[in-house]
Amino acid sequence: MDEKLISRRDLAFQLYEVLKVESLTQRPRYQEHDRGTFEAILDTAQQIAETHFAPFNRKADENEPVFEDGQARTIPETKAAVQAHAAAGFLVAHHDAALGGMQLPAVVVNAAMALFKAANVSFAAYPLLTLAAGNLIHRYGSEEQKKRFLPLLLDGRATGTMCLTEPHAGSSLGDLRTRAEPQPDGTYRLFGNKIFISGGDHDFGGNIIHLVLARISGAPPGVKGISLFIVPKFLVDEAGRMGARNDVVLAGLLHKMGYRGTTSTVLTFGDRDGAVGYLVGEPHQGLKYMFHMMNEARIGVGMGAIALGYTGYLHALDYARNRPQGRPLANKDPASPQVPIIEHPDVRRMLLAQKSYVEGCLALGLYAARLVDDIRTGNEAERARAQELLDLLTPVVKAGSSQFCLKANELAIQVFGGAGYTRDYPVEQFYRDNRLNPIHEGTDGIQSLDLLGRKLWQNGSAGLKALLREVETTLQEAAGENELAELVEALRGARDTLAALIMRLGSLMSGAQAEQVLANSFPFLEVFSRFVLAWQWLRQALVAVSGLRRADLSEDEANFYRGKLHAARYFLRWELPQIEPLCRLLERCDPTFLSMKDEWF
């Protein structure tokens, strides 16, 4: 089967050549592993993705879940896919051996999950949410809660959800109103409405473990009064057995543009006597717990955007190589055979742009996942550096990838032409599915404020300093390569421009003009994302140049490296310089957005 998910050659390039993931096996946590186990695990991921996920991607899109007898009904292939994923051990792969886990590095877990997302992102959402819920309970749950709930999430007997949004409080979580009443037995009863809850109900059998943000009666207003609760759909006894139905009611399903295989639910907690909930950690610390997990969840969203962009690109590439249409400009003979559309320079332009976006973002997404491994297993200095870098890069991984890879899906449709606009080909669905990623888990606007309002400056700009050191290292390594001179010069120039801009914005932020600076946070995110991706491309180009020097290189291998090098040239020549006009506007704190008035629209 050739499902065109994500190039395994590229994954191997990123993992072993760029990120040197094999070196992780020197660390005690990962010492049982080697490249052989990583590849075997990716093989299993790909097999399950090709067997249980990809063949039903269109079917799930055409048959969105329906509300029936108070329950969400999905197509039966959803359950089969979710169970196959769990049965293979992917829900427990990264956990400790003591929990039955494989202690698999985060970077490999993310690569494996990307294959599922490329195959069928809406099926993959269920395990992704289950992983996140498991991680949260593992990290912040009490011993008793871990004993009772964690095994269900690790072997697939339950799926997980994250219940944050309410009808009147989405991005503004401080305004949420779901109420938790303390009970004499130490549990709580929850009352309130949640909306946009992905995976909030389904018909797979088994349980659903909702992680719910709510306010304990009498809690302080705003974000400082939010607590986190475990609320199972079916009550669970101490031995983990499923009992009576909890007071969580499916009030309705939302009808989405894409991601249709994932139920998006409206849930009512406490329709009768209150939904039984168990407080996680300390009262009023819920948002902190939720956001501690957010870095990893946001890498997950970014990787989803990348997977969709990547599979779209591979479909467009395949189509362009096989679709004959038109003749070269110089050929005026209508009787001569038509050429495949990849022969037309404008089609190659669109393919090159897609390649540069999806492979650049994949490099960044896996780089970020590799930082998670450093945070878990590095020495003290590595841990600190990795945490600072990851905090800074997370908005780029999340929102930057969502923007660039959605653009890639748009270009994939363009390569297909009219065919791409029909539902006979999959690229329009990739676009619709990917359109969610700039929205959920913090919109692009929220991400840009997080970057410009907080991440750039926190801890004395430690993240920014760490990034600039990494960039300088790459520049110095690349300076020795004649073939990269042009790219080094371009990235160095952009680095200097960006550093000067950040200095200036920093001084304005501490003054009275903070509001004006932050009004332009979105264009700043774009500038910063382009710069970070250009750096990732120079890193890839460095590996490609040395790869090309290898003695026993086959023609395919040489072409792979030449393609990397050329995509790097494309990105640094055509995409990176687009920051310049934006930087000029940002530098002078252009007030156009801020000064626009409601009444003028």
């Binding site: 089967m1 050659r9 049982e32 075997a40 299993t44 399950i48 494989m102 086959s554």
Partner: protein, 249 residues
Amino acid sequence: MKILVPVKRVVDYNVKIRVKPDGSGVDTANVKMSMNPFDEIAVEEAIRLKEAGVASEVVAVSCGVAQCQETLRAAMAMGADRGILVQTDVELQPLAVAKLLKAVVEKEQPGLVIAGKQAIDDDANQTGQMLAALLGWPQATFASKVVVTDGKLTVTREVDGGLETLELPLPAVITTDLRLNEPRFATLPNIMKAKKKPIDTLTPEALGVDVTPRLATLKVEEPPKRKAGVMVGSVDELIEKLRNEAKVI
């Protein structure tokens, strides 16, 4: 009963193969390699027989370069108990493999050999048959159903006219067809367990087998590109073309 399953390392079925420019063979440098899919079916069948209590041990055997260890690990990750690598850098042809397997069978004394019916690289479809002949064992090729009862083997085979059912005494050689079963995925815990399972390494010399190639490859080339079709105006024209141009009727 012990079951022996030969597994071959081949270019992955997803890889678009390329002929080397000098026509000497297929380019396998840095190409993804996997277990021959028919052999996966053989491994699966052996594991099922073990799970059903018919077999007590499943031993995977691979002949070839050192990297065939990865193929053995894949078989063990599915559930084979241990592996045997007959290591050589010599290009192995079906007769040589059959002789090597015969030597391994004599050493291991399995009650049953289950092999893939052919490998997706050379499509020779010879090794299982040659092995049975060399051992003097009964054979059932292209199996689509295997039942073991009272020391006897009942095998349904896919033949041109439909299905044929054979009864064989043990020990015997079976080769698997595509529809025998659906091989399982190697789960992550089993991939980790497979790392700790033993692999014995042997050599053709130690087994006393001469593996020198008997066949010479003259040239490898791509199949001719398919030509564009033509639209015919009528059935008569089609018949005329089939008769006089294609000369098939």
